[in-house]
Amino acid sequence: MTNLLLAYIGIGVMIALSGIGSVFGLTICGNAAIGGLKKRPDAMGTFVLLSALPSTQGIYGFVAYFMIIGKVSATMTAQQAAAVFGASLAVGLVCLLSGLRQGQVCANGINATAAGNNVTAGTMVMAAFPEFYAILSLLFLILVGGTI
């Protein structure tokens, strides 16, 4: 019972933190987009495109749930529960910070676009760098899941 509890706490924390990371990131971008719309209402499409990028971390948390839930059962051992907890916590923490920071990158891109600079493509590339580590954490979870 304790093992199952530990595993589910880990999964819950993962979903919560990754979702919170996306929420913060999306909010930062949304605020920048509203400010940008005042200067350039015609660039709404670009702002929506850049604003939606930090939603990925919440998606990774969601995918990670599907990757790991198959390993959770009432008869799981303490080692398995610890692995699930550890991997889930890693994904949650990384996605939290990755979403937050990616949102800041995208918000800067939105501000620069609103100022008349053509930086959409560059912003998308730069925003992919913090996301890479969220992907790595997901990969870590998949690999850990393969060992238990």
Binding site: I59, V63, A121, E131
Partner: protein, 623 residues
């Protein structure tokens, strides 16, 4: 595909130059080359024309908002003095703005006087002359003291839910020391203020009517004037881009013409006393404008390429390469056959009813079709998983839907494996595109290293698939696979920078290997979002279905259908809206980051914008 361009250089005698430019404008095919030594932003004439254009556009927009819904616009009058009409209309809008400000200020005064009622200030002054001073106060109801009625002869004249308005009478001419706020009143009576307001409103109404009339009578003419101003701006711009030579007697103009439009220019040249030189545009030149020409399907996705950046002249157009993938990715992300049907129907409607959005509507039809196919493949329609429902007519096909219940690939969801595989396939395709691009741009020997990576990855993939499928591989095949891998390694480590020292190439190969391993892993895993988004949308849809039927389940049918319908409409509407945004943004992100990065796309091309007359719209744009 990028349309090949021809570079033209014209040498024209200065007296013939204006006429030549006017004829050139009529052909509308030459993209004038921009001079690096000319700063157009500092040109006063251009700035003035731009400002005129901006003012005209602003006034046109304001007039369109005021035009009566059922009004008929007068035909265009080309003799109208556009700038004089603009000045007159701007003055009217300024008057309107001033009147609106006065109206707001007057309304504040009226609101301040309303609680006191309509009294005559003359009578107040007469009372004061007779030695009776009146003061106007306001306070909260709870703060009013009844002894003020005796002490200060306070008389309550008005009240609201929280405040009291009262007047005090002093025979000693002194303002009473009272704990209440002294009201600031207008010097005019309420009646006078209301009369002034009525007059203002009448004036505003008359002004609005005059502007509405002007909108119907002059809007088309103003649009024509705006086109004229834009044409003048473009003409002045071309004059700025023109070089002067031979003691200012000759004019030199350079520009680019698409090869498919060259005939129109040559027809003009035959009649003009102009010397010119034509040559193929150089692929190394950065200033060659870009005109894309693709098939019917790929052409729909050109706006997505433009949103990122047009290719430069020496590159390959990536639009036909990513268009099919984008269509598939959209379908995977939206993932619901029912939503796909909605997209298809809405796009079909838009194609016929909104002709200005026709190309987007056709793209929407393709995206909708793709989503329907993915939905049928995975058995997801409006949040209903068809592989789990007990419908008799599905009994024979339920096992064919690609779902976790029916299939499992090494313990993983089949759609997740499919998403990663299609992502890997797109990356391989991008690498192949890069090999072709480099070979075309600078030569095949410079593409050997990238070719080595491509073949190595395919080689390893084949080996991995054979191992996982437990296919018995003959020894000779193993030697071929590893031999090929060895050859690829040689290309990667010793042919990545032709002409350089082998040690430098080896080091460069090591660095490239690190980038490839770390980059490829991240890029491939990034495609997992295609599975996640489709899954998330499907799950949300099914949750709304459960909620809807639970809400109406306990009620009699004749009333239970109502909450069910409301929840279904609201839930699926919200889910559809969120999923559409994700389904556009994430495939676009995969295209711009993973695909463009792996195919080495540079971009930076300038759009082909020929020097021509501005076309006037057939019908004025509606509100």
């Amino acid at each position: 595909m990028i349309v090949p361009m021809k570079k033209y250089t014209f040498l024209v005698y200065h007296r013939h130059y204006t006429a030549f430019l006017q004829q050139l404008r009529e052909t509308g095919v030459l993209h004038v080359k921009e001079r690096k030594d000319v700063n157009l932003a500092e040109n006063e004439d251009l700035r003035q024309r731009l400002e005129e254009g901006r003012r005209l556009t602003a006034v046109i927009r304001q007039l369109q908002a005021l035009a009566p819904a059922e009004g008929v616009f007068a035909p265009m009058d080309q003799s109208l003095d556009g700038m004089a009409a603009l000045k007159h209309i701007e003055d009217l809008f300024q008057q309107r703005s001033d009147l609106q400000l006065k109206q707001q200020s007057l309304q504040k005064e009226i609101d301040g006087m309303l609680p006191w009622g309509n009294f005559d200030w003359q009578q107040i002054r007469q009372l004061q002359q007779a030695g009776c001073r009146l003061d106007f106060f306001t306070c909260n109801k709870s703060a009013f003291k009844s002894q003020w009625e005796k002490e200060y002869r306070a008389v309550i004249v008005g009240e609201t839910s929280a405040a009291l308005y009262f007047v005090t009478f002093s025979l000693d001419g002194q303002r009473p020391e009272i704990e209440a706020d002294q009201a600031r009143l207008s010097a005019s009576s309420l009646g006078e203020l209301q009369e002034r307001m009525a007059a203002l409103e009448s004036e505003l109404k008359a002004l609005d009517a005059e502007l509405a009339d002007l909108s119907l009578s002059q809007l088309r003419s103003l649009e024509y004037a705006a086109c004229q101003v834009n044409d003048n701006y473009q003409f002045s711009k071309v004059l700025c881009e023109t070089q002067h030579a031979a003691d200012d007697r000759l004019r030199v103009l350079e520009g680019f013409v698409p090869e498919d439009k060259e005939a129109e220019l040559l027809a003009l040249m035959e009649q003009s006393p102009v010397w010119y030189q034509a040559e193929k545009a150089s692929v190394e030149a950065a200033e060659v404008p870009i005109k894309l020409k693709n098939g019917r399907f790929a052409r729909l996705f050109e706006p997505l390429t433009k949103l990122y950046s047009l290719p430069n002249y020496g590159e390959l157009d990536p639009t036909p390469a990513f268009a099919p993938f984008f269509t598939l990715f959209f379908g995977l992300c939206l993932g619901d056959g029912g939503y796909g049907l909605v997209v298809l129907l809405a796009s079909t409607w838009a194609k016929h009813k909104l002709p200005q959005l026709k190309s987007y509507a056709i793209m929407g039809q393709w995206l909708g079709l793709s989503t329907i196919l993915v939905g049928l493949l995975t058995g997801m329609v409006f949040g209903i998983s068809l592989d789990t429902v007990a419908w008799p007519w599905l009994a024979n096909v339920k096992h064919m839907f690609v779902t976790d219940n029916n299939y499992s690939i090494m313990g993983y969801s089949p759609m997740m494996v499919f998403a990663i595989c299609i992502g890997f396939l797109q990356i391989l395709f991008a690498m192949g595109f890069k090999v072709v691009r480099i070979s075309t741009q600078i030569g095949f020997k410079y593409a050997l290293s990238d070719l080595g990576w491509l073949v190595l990855l395919i080689d390893l993939l084949v080996y991995l698939v054979l191992m996982l499928a437990k296919v018995p591989v003959p020894q000779i095949a193993t030697y071929v696979i590893f031999g090929l891998a060895g050859c690829c390694a040689v290309l990667i480590f010793f042919f990545n920078s032709p002409g350089k020292n082998p040690f430098i190439q080896f080091g460069s190969g090591l660095w490239g290997t690190y980038n490839m391993v770390s980059g490829l892993l991240g890029d491939v895993l990034s495609y997992i979002r295609l599975f996640a988004l489709g899954l998330a949308g499907g799950i949300l849809g099914s949750v709304f279905n459960s909620l809807a039927f639970q809400a109406g389940g306990g009620l009699p049918v004749w009333i239970g259908w109502l909450p069910t319908a409301i929840i279904l409409l609201f839930g699926h509407g919200l889910n559809f809206f969120l999923c559409i945004i994700s389904s556009i943004v994430h495939p676009l992100r995969l295209t711009y980051v993973e695909f463009f990065k792996n195919c080495g796309y540079e971009g930076g091309g300038k759009e082909y914008q020929p020097f021509r007359r501005t076309a006037v719209a057939e019908e004025p744009a509606q509100n």
